[in-house]
Amino acid sequence: MKKNLKNKLKNMTSYRKKSVLAYSIVILAFIIITIFDTLGFVTNSLYGQLVPICVYISLAVSLNLVVGISGELSLGHAGFMSIGAFAGVIASTVLQESVVVAMPRLFIAILVGGIIAGIAGVLIGIPVLRLRGDYLAIVTLAFGEIIRNVLNCIYIGMDEAGLRIATSAEKLGLDPINGKMILNGPMGATGIQKLATFTSGFILVLFTLFIVQNLINSKQGRAIMATRDNRIAAESIGLNVTNFKLTAFVTSAALAGMAGALFALNYSTVAPVKFNFNTSILILVFVVLGGMGNIVGSIISAAILTILPEALREFSDYRMLIYAIVLILVMLATNNLTFRAFIDKYIGKITRFLRPKKRNPDFPQKEEV
């Protein structure tokens, strides 16, 4: 039996091995934290962080699909997160009476968040992914900022007449007694029913891993990575490069929307300012530190770097200084050859994507066709 498993592991491709490693880490962490929680070892501050950790892991893994796997720089991940967040809150509020049980309502809200963010991904991706170079970075950066500013002046309320949308609280003309404000301009969503739980966060992480890793292991995933490695060669074997970049981008946006919905439904209020450029960069930092295209790396770095600022709270004023030092040390460590050889040996080929490309120095490559 044991030998069987060993053989099975041996026959798996390196991507499959990494997938199994990613699931194992997440499931193990969930079990350990749940046990510690029932034993009362989990502090209040850590407990409050559990859902955000799951959300940021999902965001890092989904952004890695665009940045690491498809090789396009996206600076607007928080934008898709915010679309999912507010779409999810609206869905959850609208369904408050019709779907009374929390779990299915949360499920629908997350689904709605994912779909709306995915549609936004299509609308942005189609024009931009035809272009080459840094256009995607610029446009996604602008998109993130525009979405936040638009959300700042959207007011949505609900009363007997149904859903109302306006550009100011007065214009909304909400029934003062029965009316319920859902989105209040710069104040964001208020009076949210908190539906998110650690278990739902865990399931979302598993779902994100499931989709992203299966995509990477499929023919579409191979085509996405081929396009990243060599666009001209990919076209020469009949791959429609734009389609595959779009597949990665939209999948990533939809997953970010789902994470955003879960994030919003973990608080009683969420303001648009929470989803600013800094948040996009923060997620990008998780991806870069964890390693481009390295899913396990994204999980670990997102988890650690989300906990770290809280864990460093006792250092008060020096908190961000220490945070920065830790970031630098991690960067140095992941670029250190001996350290990486050590990791390679013991946890498999996690860092394959971190290594600089090996080139045969005798045959320098020309850039022409």
Binding site: N214, K219, R222, M225, N230, I232, K357, R359, N360
Partner: protein, 289 residues
Amino acid sequence: MNRKGRHSSKEEINRNLKDFKGHSLIPERDIEDPPILEITNLGIDFGGLTAVNDFNMALGRTEIAGLIGPNGAGKTTIFNLLTKVYQPTRGTFLLDGKDTKGMNTIKINRAGIARTFQNIRLFDKLTVEENVKVGLHHEINYSLLSGMFRTPAYRDGEKDAHEHALDLLSIFDMTHLADAPAGSLPYGAQRRLEIIRALATNPKVLLLDEPAAGMNPSETAELMETIQDIRDRFQIAILLIEHDMNLVMGICEAIAVLNYGQIIAKGTPSEIQSNSLVIEAYLGKQKEV
């Protein structure tokens, strides 16, 4: 693979060429069928520079033809025109009787032309097997959602793709390298992998841009055999650019010589070797001959 049909020595190669429309030579056995590639007056200018001009050529369905010429003659540019990396300034070409005007690189490959690159373009971070599977992309039948949710269709498709990829890799005895990252292979193996990846797209015409560059003599000899094996097994046409005259003279049926973007000679290897224009423009400067 079936080695019966292979031509084991130079002498056995059938070099009876027949005239096609007065501007090209096609092997006798292919003359009954319309040529797979019929190029007429193809030309391209880069700004003021005429890189290729008035290029006419027909390629028989199972022909191995050579395109030679000094550095900068325009050989790679012709491949780029045939694969629509560049759109021609003048002229056009028919692929299997169909006009290719307005097609892009992707459509050309789907219509039946696959190529390798003078400066290797592999998917470096993917494994050898994955590089071949990417070439098989359109042969694998399952949807995006099947892949995302690992349906039985996905499993079947991947299993077939794996077997198909290994079968193609066995052409060059590369199955043992299946799991190595393509970027880590030695130079010669990278060139061979590029040929397999191109073959995986199930082409009618295979364009090889300097397939023997950087290979040692024994590797080159092996390559010569395998190129003929490939033609015999898949019954496709192969057009190759090569500076190694042993290879060109050894396996090509018809040869076209290019100089300054113009064809200066066409014929069998022996005709080309004795052509005074060619000797003057090209062969005389080369050490190999």
